[in-house]
Point group: C2
Amino acid sequence: MSEGRSIGAVKPATMHFDTPLRCASGASIDSYDLMYETYGVLNAARSNAVLVCHALNASHHVAGYYDDLAGTGSRKGADNIGWWDNMIGPGKPLDTDRFFVLGVNNLGGCFGSTGPASINPATGQAYGSSFPVVTVEDWVEAQARLADRLGIARFAAVMGGSLGAMQSLQWTIGYPERVANALAVAAAPKLSAQNIAFNEVARQAITTDPDFHGGNFYAHGVIPRRGLRLARMIGHITYLSNDAMMEKFGRSLRSGSVNFHFDVDFEVESYLRHQGDKFADYFDANTYLLITRALDYFDPGAAHGGSLSQAFARAQARYLVISFTSDWRFSPLQSRELVKSLLDNRLDVSYAEIDAPHGHDAFLLEDPRYHALVRVYFDNIFAGL
Amino acid sequence: MSEGRSIGAVKPATMHFDTPLRCASGASIDSYDLMYETYGVLNAARSNAVLVCHALNASHHVAGYYDDLAGTGSRKGADNIGWWDNMIGPGKPLDTDRFFVLGVNNLGGCFGSTGPASINPATGQAYGSSFPVVTVEDWVEAQARLADRLGIARFAAVMGGSLGAMQSLQWTIGYPERVANALAVAAAPKLSAQNIAFNEVARQAITTDPDFHGGNFYAHGVIPRRGLRLARMIGHITYLSNDAMMEKFGRSLRSGSVNFHFDVDFEVESYLRHQGDKFADYFDANTYLLITRALDYFDPGAAHGGSLSQAFARAQARYLVISFTSDWRFSPLQSRELVKSLLDNRLDVSYAEIDAPHGHDAFLLEDPRYHALVRVYFDNIFAGL
């Protein structure tokens, strides 16, 4: 498979904003930085820009790799290679020889954009728990301001998976005239009760960790490692399908037999602990709370009496919606509900349900049918530029 | 529905054992108590006894109610009504006018039988982390000794749901001549990697709670509440189906709108916190570790090169296996694997897959088709006594 090349070594940039951002909550962020990366060249007509929105634990570092982590917002333990590098690069499905690709670390993040770990200029202390609860709508607003500064009036496409897909949908609702195409992969138009429940357990793990200190742990020189570990372990279970876990780990034992203790016996235990430990090294606990809350709150139909169709009444984009059969976190049913609402508005929608065994994580993997579909979709966008 | 009456007020009894129990781990428990309850009358032929095995958080208190919690092993917060009271009583599917029903709190439990919170006579201190890791096989061995003392050479049936079903299966493997019928409801012949993963997160929540003190928290006058709460919250998500959660909670908000905080906004959050708090009040953290480990380790096929069919080679019982379509914790696929292994041995098996929306919890609920099936099955057993 792996057609195309890596974009190679990349570097992020930072844009500073001094106009206060009024959040959905009513709170304001007076000034802030957004860290972002761009790949490819913006054409003369400024018509080939594609915004790629990130999900829970990712960032502006979408493709390519870092020669040096210094100044990139990444911490040891985070991946050095862009999180969607298999999708984006020269000759890849989203071809950086054709498109100008923009990745942004969302506000409240922990990879270089202003977030809870940043110093609040008003107090000289880390924001901590005083950082406003931000929403998908707030992120899109901040991304739109960045687009303004970069001279992008309209995106050829806004694209994302999971929480990133929510942002691509919100773009078409909030800025219908600024998005030609929206790609929503492994999407949900709103979380189910079960989704919210998993987020709540993860948040409770963090906030009840004695090292959380009400969100102001920075001042105490500690981090709520225990809570972050648990949050990540829970997350990982929901990113994989039961079948994928059986395929990957089964009931394999590390030492060939059980040891009648509560330490690691099964390979799956070792995997989860490792993922949890790694995550706790590089992710900010307050950012985790903010991002899961943004997921919980996203519900564009709520402002229209529960009608998702009405939420898209002003939308103009064309859509590519892709779901994966084994994704039980954001199941195909949720994508179908979305597709129905788009069709209710006679919007141009392509929908594919990919028969993939990997669960929610499938959106990050290099499934040939999935990547071929995205490639063709972008070919068509390019042909129409 | 609710045919039949409550057995009324009941009282548990305690049996003391002085013969050391050698566990599968190689460790021994020198002496121990088992707390149990019986309902109905053992007939002259001693042929109408039914053992009911409990799952994760239940006990010997299977049916009826307590007038007074003192001496029952139950603590404030635990249910006063037997956990399978809708199934067992005079005129109920398991009819105590016909059968002599026995419920036992398993060894390592926290409702009256010897467990980690009990005083180790050898040290004068609570067992804590020194309590042996017990298995389903160990529990069945202890139950068999209790049956001996009660004069029950052979059970008309051994019955259980979830982890209780594993015990009923193990009875037919370990004591084939002592079980006429096994009822395995919402069963799994072994846990999947995903099942183990959820157990592992729950255990990590408990063992990383600073109040756990390596399992010896009794001496510190604390309990690992935070860990127990999280363990129970995770458990509750897996006991319910996604549909049942949507039906029960949906995205309902406690105060009608979101409040941009990390406290309770959604009803499902309130429910989980309440369940977690209640559980932490009455359940022992070390028992939680032991019971989830017994679940992980149960794998009767493992001793036969992975062949579940060979594990049942000596079994003689007749079986009733019941699964529920929406149970994703112990899915119908797992019951079908079990049924296939039983049929491979030409054993007499009835299997029903009940189309129920409630998830794993369905085995505790009063579904008319499910209860009618159990009733008819016991009618037939009674007719053959």
